[in-house]
Symmetry: C2
Subunit: 144 residues, 2 copies
DNA sequence: GTAGGTGCAAAGAGTTTGCATACGC
DNA sequence: GCGTATGCAAACTCTTTGCACCTAC
């Protein structure tokens, strides 16, 4: 695990405990949004003794310290989590494998302003997700 | 309740029972996304005898028959529901009163194509929500 | 009259909390 | 060493299911 990732905890005032580093590592390595239970299952493979309630508590503290963002998606009834990115980003989400591609540009500034004017609505932020098939899953679909 | 709304049930093959008409009416009258429990609380005021499990079953059947869309939002951990609209629409959601304004135009077609080309990602649909303050809540905020 | 819908109660998931022990700083 | 974090078990909340009765067609 990178030093940068390890130091992130200290810099927000959280002790570097074994379970926290583990959760951080799992979120960092994964290219999917993950539920508390997804993370727990992966964590259990590395550290048999970790408890699900610890995972919940860690996620809660990470969200509070803004290390992690909670995400709700069309295809899942559960709250999911992702490591926070430095920059504003949108998502391409594969309906088949659930992989998430981050898109670091945003076409919405002018539309946002237009909405604000038309409805007298003051936009604070927005959420944009595209659902579809990633390159690999398109290939799989064509093959079958 | 409008005849159109009442006939909607029959036209998708659902009997017009009292609890179904009630749920339909509540969803129709409300300008917010609602959870199963939100709907149950409102329904209870009209019909004391309605049961929460009935509300869950009704919502399940409405989603299956595509009368209702399930929605997940940034500010709520629960699955919410809205009556389906005839046309593709996006949402302006007030962070204060949770009112939902429907926007029937969409700036994303060209961006969608661009994303598809750039990442070899075949977009099937997308979800766009703006979060902010509606006209009334801006006024309230300025007054306080 | 019959198939399907409903209310109630109980079961099942998912999430949170209390408490004694363990660990990072 | 102190204060916080953890694991475990129990509590709590949300959602689903089984069953007997009821109702729309």
């Amino acid at each position: 695990m990178s030093k940068k990732l390890r130091d992130w905890l200290l810099s927000v005032g959280l002790k570097r405990t074994k379970p926290r580093l583990l959760v951080l590592d799992i979120l960092h390595k994964n290219e999917h949004f993950m539920s508390a239970d997804d993370i727990f299952v992966k964590a259990k493979k590395v550290d048999k003794s970790i408890s699900l309630s610890t995972v919940y508590r860690i996620l809660e503290s990470f969200v509070e310290k803004e290390i992690v963002s909670p995400v709700t998606l069309e295809y899942s009834k559960h709250l999911l989590y992702e490591l926070k990115h430095e920059t504003h980003a949108h998502h391409l989400i594969c309906l088949s494998c659930k992989k998430v591609i981050h898109v670091h540009n945003c076409p919405l500034e002018s539309f946002e302003k237009q909405m604000g004017d038309q409805y007298d609505f003051k936009v604070k932020n927005h959420k944009l997700e595209f659902y579809g098939l990633c390159s690999a899953c398109q290939a799989k679909e064509n093959a079958s």
